[in-house]
Symmetry: C2
Subunit: 283 residues, 2 copies
């Protein structure tokens, strides 16, 4: 596995691979890799000649009050994990390689970024869109892999990829969970043991929501109220948002239909944890 820090080296390597007509699968990450990332790397490994993993804690997608400086990092472990999963290239740029002096451009999206995490994290999706445009131009992937845990991010990246005419297939992969249902996340490391136990309530509540819908409930307000009550029964949990939205435009929706996304962000201790489920194949 090749570790690349510099853009010039990366560009040369990608140019060589393109000249050999290799297909490239990209897994963009912020590092501190877990089995959720692992599932993306494995899928990329199955579907492409070359797998590139990027590890970059993107300062532009953190709001001013957020955990940029504390975000967990372990490049040695990440590198070993990528090697174990047979990635070909690990791109690990410094921030000033990605955003040199004078950097002034950005990419962003209307509507899809105006709800859920977009309200709570000012500038977050602008940062996400900007780094994705850069990574797509640098790595020229045929396919790029993202987790469904960040469902709004996935929808936004799909939209901007189509809108900007990138020749990239954006592939969403299922949420990978711990045994008790908690979605795997680098931020789970913020939880102490009591908080870690309490965090299981989030997915337990979401599963109840799914069951109510499977049993016929179509009113999103009713479903959300049930989920809310369960999460709020846990004293260590504080809901940041809990909403039902149309996956197409991320706007709130009153009646459950296909492509309704139920999404929540819940604080447990210092950790802000995401979970969601998508309604598909209902009558």
């Amino acid at each position: 596995m090749l570790e690349v820090k510099n853009i010039a080296d990366l560009k040369q390597k990608i140019k060589d691979l393109k000249a050999e007509n290799k297909t490239i699968g990209l897994v963009p990450t912020m590092g501190f890799l877990h089995e959720g990332h692992g599932s993306l790397i494995k899928k990329a490994r199955e579907e492409n000649d070359i797998v590139v993993v990027s590890v970059f804690v993107n300062p532009k997608q953190f709001a001013a009050n957020e955990d940029l400086s504390n975000y967990p990092r372990d490049l040695v472990k990440d590198s070993a994990y990528c090697r174990e999963l047979h990635a070909d290239i690990l791109f690990i740029p410094d921030a000033d390689e990605i955003y040199p002096a004078g950097f002034n451009s950005f990419a962003d999206i209307y509507q899809l970024g105006d709800n859920l995490c977009g309200i709570k994290r000012a500038g977050h999706f602008r940062g996400v869109c900007t780094i994705i445009v850069k990574l797509f131009n640098l790595i020229k992937p045929n396919r790029a892999y993202f987790g469904q845990k960040d469902a709004q991010q996935l929808a936004i990246i799909k939209r901007i990829t189509a809108d900007f005419n990138f020749d990239v297939e954006v592939i969403g992969c299922p949420i990978v969970r711990e045994a008790d249902g908690l979605a795997k996340s680098s931020r789970n490391t913020y939880l102490n043991s009591e908080e870690r136990k309490a965090a299981a309530i989030i997915n337990k509540a979401m599963q109840t929501g799914q069951k109510i819908i499977a049993d016929g409930e179509k009113n999103t307000a009713v479903v959300l109220e049930k989920i809310r009550a369960i999460i709020e029964s846990e004293k260590l949990a504080r809901i940041d948002y809990l909403q039902a939205v149309d996956l197409e435009n991320m706007q709130d929706i009153a009646t459950v239909k296909n492509n309704t996304l139920f999404a929540t962000a819940v604080f447990v201790g210092k950790a802000r944890l995401l979970d969601n489920f998508l309604i598909e194949n209902i009558d």
Copy 2:
């Protein structure tokens, strides 16, 4: 010369050309081509295997109060002119091919777009940046050609191309002028014969400014005042802006140095006319 309206056809053609390792020069235009555009096409012809000209009156770069619906169009003449100059591909998409239903993404820039035309034309550079990202992704040019007449646009496109890591060389070409010095522009067609005569004052004033600087004046306020007085001596001319800025960041500058851009927009009748000169190679 191939005329292409659809993105699917364009992408296939570009894919074929890339497979043959052809270099591509792109000349993005809004049509109603004149010798200014012609100079870009000729330069692209000299430097690339394939020349693509795009003609697209981009609605997103017109502010609400502007001349989108009246903007001059003559596709028959444009096509003949591109053929005469040996362009290979003329890309002439409809607006809904470029911005289909659900289109929600944009590219934009901080600082460089906040002055000059950026103040006067709300959203203009956001529209420019967005279409350029799309055209670069669709056409994958090795080089793209723009006129120095739109000096701020050129600086912004250079910046976003670098910031977004596009593998495109952005090339600025000198202003092409009428015999009396008026910069060639599709919008000159708005001028009646009296206005057309009056419009010559703009470049006359700018030439005087250049001469004053050549004679040793370093205070931009003094230079601007001389230019302003000359333009204002023409009753049909109304200055929209007249400023001296640093080409690097488009911010106003008090003392002339290398890469000082003197830029003006002047209304003559309905036409808003641009002119500028750049200071280079002074002590």
